[in-house]
């Protein structure tokens, strides 16, 4: 049967090209996403500072208290420093170091911030950590007394000399140190993340503020020791300690920079979601295109049946053709996907969705995924349409008029209805809150419309066709009748448009609602006049808020920093909530009005927290409850709910006392200081001690929050744009496929007296109906979910956001569809009518 499939395919190259093109496009989309995901997964985080430490022991940067589900930690999780001593004793270990790094801003003699090459930030380390790179003294000596430091040669491009006195600012203290040594690491890779400053061991310990805990235990081995053997011994030695992991080789990079590991994981999540969406859409498009192409060959299948093929043989022939088409499409699309992946990487890097420097790695997995998806989808689509084709009665081959079989089979109709019900169910069970799953109803309804499309198209064409046929009696009436007669064609053009519109409305306007609400809440909440923040460094030390308060004219100044809190909302789910650590004594309504609805912020001391009212409702918490949560580094804490508040967006869902959170974050610098009163000039005086300080007004804060939201969303918008382009191409493909087969129909019309203009007008009217159908239904299925999200966020079900995006999308699709139909109609009209009538269909 495959041989017959091959020859029928070869003869029908034109007809199958549309299906081939659809599969090709889909494969390109899915595989290029897959390549990016694969590259991200495989991209190692480079090991730089720990190059000489063959083994690194780290506390696992995730928690999974309930066994099956885990949540990543946003703050560094520390482990007991005493482990270094016990590991030092293991054979093969030359030195075991309890490594602690902490943000240390260095202010030079002229009063400006010193940084490493290319502006990398400075970090403080104990001198014992120098052996891990290894850093060696290029000049001077190691720090002997408490006031001495060794700096890396890159600091301030080598403008630091032995004997210079530098001021070092950490979260705990502001002190001056003398440079007694300059170190370099010629044998190690260049440090791109930080420029180290080495203190005497105990000084580093004091400044880091983590006490007898460390970030990592790093082991440098004896020369000739076997890394794997020693690693196994380390494993055994640590068997009693839960929650640790032993890393060697490239995996150490994750321990050296957990922040990069987190961001990479976010990237992978984002790309995977996008890839899944793309695959979802691609499946729809391929299925509808295939259905159309099988339908177009209705008469040919009838012929096969008439000359004696059994239904099974026809089915196998269709399946065989589908297989050939998908194989050919994968073969052509694969090299194009590589090219497309590079383009996608460019885009993603520029919009910040993917970290800089990610290299494309071409593995086998994305192509395997693309091949599987192509074959499975086309086989399923072919199976569904072949069943219909196989049941054609042989006599249909001899009948003259084109017969359109019943558009929706019973099974398909039942599934469609089930999907309608499913979407409604999603809406009903979707909770309140920001993360409502209500938008998922749009996805389920997409399936419903795709299944029931032909049925829905009938009344729609009838309705929209009314004004059309009244307006232009000939072409309009024909258009109305044709779209009602060929419902599958309508569906194949309308489906991609519907999918794209539904996705854009759901995702873009969903985000837009959140974004607007964040700005609004920030504006309502911020009563401070000025906001202090730091430029590129880690933040402002806590004494900045104190200094600001001391300025005459300043009524209040309150510093805070962002962190996270993990909640188990139900036993099967861990939620990571954005939190903010504040100074309860100074967080008065003078600087921030959080909209407290129950309890009081005055009770926010000790082991307590304030919670966003929506979250409290979702978790069933009340003021006074004691709740178990985990802080940013995974440390468990039982906190008393002190208050609930209504303006969390842009601030934090959970508000903690800073004293509680400070020991459980990577660096306890303030990222924002809210100031009421005073003047800009006075506040800028603070720059003398903090060169990195920036003073902004309340208005500028809202703008900055908005810009940040935009930045985060930009990657999503780019990906949405890709899906829109894909759907436009799919719709164009369907238009061209269906118009190309109508040469005989156009010829007939011309022979009974229609001129080319009238035929073209008919095609335009049909396109209008099909496009309107897709866009209208796409909007309808997205609106309910969006209304619910809007209501949760803003209290009103009316969606918010700029209208021009929606209008622009409609206009874009309209223009593309009309252009495609115009061009394909013109091509189909070129042939002489009588010759076209006699030609093969």
């Amino acid at each position: 049967m495959l041989r017959i499939a091959f020859s029928t395919l070869a003869g029908r190259k034109g007809g199958m090209f549309g299906a081939f093109a659809a599969v090709c496009l889909s494969v390109i989309l899915v595989v290029s996403c897959g390549i990016l995901v694969d590259s991200s997964l495989q991209a190692p985080i480079p090991v730089e500072r720990l190059s000489a430490a063959e083994i690194v022991v780290q506390a696992k940067p995730e928690i999974g208290p309930n066994g099956n589900v885990s949540a990543p930690l946003s703050e560094r999780r520390r482990l007991p420093a005493g482990l270094a001593a016990s590991l030092q004793r293991l054979p093969g270990v030359r030195v075991a170091v309890a490594d602690r790094s902490f943000s240390a801003q260095v202010i030079g003699g002229q009063g400006h911030l010193l940084t490493g090459r290319s502006g990398v930030a400075t970090v403080g380390l104990g001198w014992e950590s120098a052996a891990l790179t290894p850093f060696e003294l290029a000049s001077g000596r190691a720090p002997r007394s408490a006031g001495e430091i060794v700096v890396s040669g890159e600091l301030a491009q080598g403008a630091v000399r032995l004997g210079n006195r530098l001021r070092v600012v950490t979260a705990r203290a502001r002190e001056s140190f003398t440079v007694v040594g300059i170190a370099a690491a010629p044998s190690a890779p260049r440090l791109t993340r930080e420029a180290p400053i080495f203190f005497r061991g105990d000084v580093a310990r004091r400044l880091s503020g983590v006490g007898d805990r460390a970030d990592l235990i790093a082991l440098a081995l004896e020369p000739g020791a076997d890394t794997r053997d020693v690693a196994q011994r380390v494993h055994r030695a640590l068997a009693a300690q839960p929650g640790l992991r032993v890393l060697t080789g490239p995996a150490r990079g994750e321990a050296e920079s957990p922040e990069e590991a987190l961001s990479r994981d976010d990237t992978i999540d984002g790309l995977t979601i996008f890839g899944a969406l793309a695959a979802f859409i691609a499946i729809f498009v391929v299925a509808s295109t295939f259905a159309l192409s099988v339908q177009q060959r209705h008469r040919e299948f009838a012929l096969f049946r008439a000359i004696g093929s059994t239904p099974r043989q026809v089915r196998r022939m269709v399946a065989g053709e589908a297989l050939l088409v998908s194989l050919a499409a994968v073969a052509i699309a694969s090299p194009i996907s590589v090219f497309a992946a590079r383009l996608l990487l460019d885009f993603s890097t520029r919009t910040g969705m993917v970290p800089e420097g990610l290299q494309i790695v071409i593995g086998w997995r994305p192509f395997a995924a693309g091949l599987t998806a192509a074959i499975v989808t086309t086989q399923l689509a072919a199976f569904a349409s072949a069943r219909r084709a196989a049941r054609i009665r042989p006599t249909d081959a001899l009948r003259e008029s084109a017969i359109r079989p019943r558009p929706v089979s019973l099974i398909r109709g039942l599934f469609g209805l089930a999907a309608v019900g499913g979407g409604a169910a999603v809406l009903m069970v979707s909770g309140g809150g920001r993360d409502s799953i209500a938008p998922a109803s749009a996805l389920v309804w997409m399936l419903a419309v795709a299944l029931l499309g032909p049925l829905l198209a009938w009344p729609f064409s009838w309705l929209i066709g009314l004004p059309l046929s009244a307006f232009s009696r000939g072409p309009g009436m024909l258009a109305r009748a044709n779209t009602r007669g060929d419902l599958r064609r309508v569906a194949s053009v309308a489906t991609p448009l519907m999918l794209a519109v539904a996705l854009v409305v759901t995702i873009y306007y969903g985000k837009s609602a959140l974004w607007q609400q964040t700005i609004e809440q920030t504006n309502q909440r911020t009563t401070a006049d000025y906001v202090l923040s730091s430029g590129k460094s880690a933040g402002l030390p806590p004494d900045v808020a104190v200094a600001a308060r001391a300025i005459p004219g300043v009524r209040q100044a309150s510093g805070s920093f962002a962190t996270t809190v993990i909640v188990d909302s139900d036993p099967t789910d861990l939620q990571v909530l954005p939190a903010r650590a504040v100074d309860p004594a100074t967080l008065t309504p003078a600087v921030n009005d959080l909209g407290v609805v129950s309890g009081s912020l005055r009770d926010l001391h000790g082991a307590a927290m304030a919670v966003a009212a929506d979250d409290a409702k979702e978790f069933g918490w009340h003021v006074g409850d004691r709740v178990r949560v985990w802080l940013g580094d995974g440390a468990p804490a039982t906190l008393r709910v002190a208050a609930t508040l209504t303006r969390p967006l842009g601030f934090g869902d959970i508000v903690l006392p800073r004293a509680l959170a400070a020991r459980h974050v990577t660096d306890a610098f303030d990222d924002t200081v809210f100031v009421r009163g005073g003047s800009r000039a006075a506040l800028e005086q603070l720059r003398q001690a903090n060169p990195d300080l920036e003073v902004t007004t309340r208005r500028q804060l809202a703008q900055r929050v908005a810009d940040e939201q935009q930045q985060q969303s930009r990657a999503v918008y780019v990906l949405l744009g890709l899906i829109v382009v894909f759907c436009a191409l799919a719709a164009v493909n369907a238009v061209m496929m269906s118009t190309a087969e109508r040469t005989r129909e156009f010829a007939r019309l011309r022979l009974i007296g229609a001129d080319k203009r009238q035929v073209a007008a008919m095609v335009r009217a049909e396109t209008l109906i099909m496009v309107a159908f897709g866009l209208a239904f796409g909007t309808c299925i997205a609106l309910p979910g969006l209304a619910i999200v809007s209501r949760n966020l803003t209290g009103s079900a009316r969606p918010s956001g700029p209208l021009w995006v929606y209008g622009g999308l409609l206009a874009f699709f309209g223009v593309i569809a009309f252009a495609a139909s115009g061009i394909s109609a013109r091509l189909a009209l070129r042939m002489d009518p009588l010759r076209a009538m006699a030609a093969r269909e």
Partner: protein
Amino acid sequence: MKTRIIQTAHTRSSTDSVRLSSVSKVYGSGDTSVAALRDVSLGLARGSFTAVMGPSGSGKSTFLHCAAGLDRPTTGTVHLGDVEISGLGEDALSRLRRERIGFVFQSFNLVPSLTAEQNITLPLRLAKRRTDTGWLNEVTQRVGLGQRSKHKPAELSGGQQQRVAIARALIARPEVIFADEPTGALDTRTGKDILTLLREAVDGLGQTVVIVTHDPNAAAHADTVVLLADGQIVEEIDNPSSELVAERMTHLGD
């Protein structure tokens, strides 16, 4: 032996519906040129039923093309009534086709998504003319559609579909109706009914009909049979019988 008939006077009369004057059609150029029609002159009188016959390659398709204005002759002129159509542009020709020429094909005549009645009135809609309901009813009755005018083509038999096609050709009261193998896809009995219908259109309505066919039985319904071979008219047979036509066709190569 080829019999060349002298042009009789009636071929130059203005009571012709269609008149070809010295029409030649040459495809290609130079060494590869093919003369599909060679200096053909023929007049088809109003109210006549003519059958054009010939073996394949005889030029009968080209004849139909030129006569209906679908192809421009290389030399010579074609007149539809008093209008010379060989020089008209596409738009003018379209208007002509919807008002003054009717077409019936062998198959795929009808728009599948329209009912029979809508198919019949389609040329009028395209011409933006009102439908005369009385005339529509009469035409529907004459072609014998009876109660089936609200049905779609898929629900009609082959013969019924051809009836609808003829009704559509008649509705605009055209100068001439061209039929390309109208009974080719039908069985003999149905085909006979269709030919009888065309005959009635000629006799009862004064319609001019030209059919192109290869079936001597079909040709026998006509007033005149024009035999084409190698692009030229070789014989005109008045009041044909199917036996005579068959015999003439067989001896065409002599």
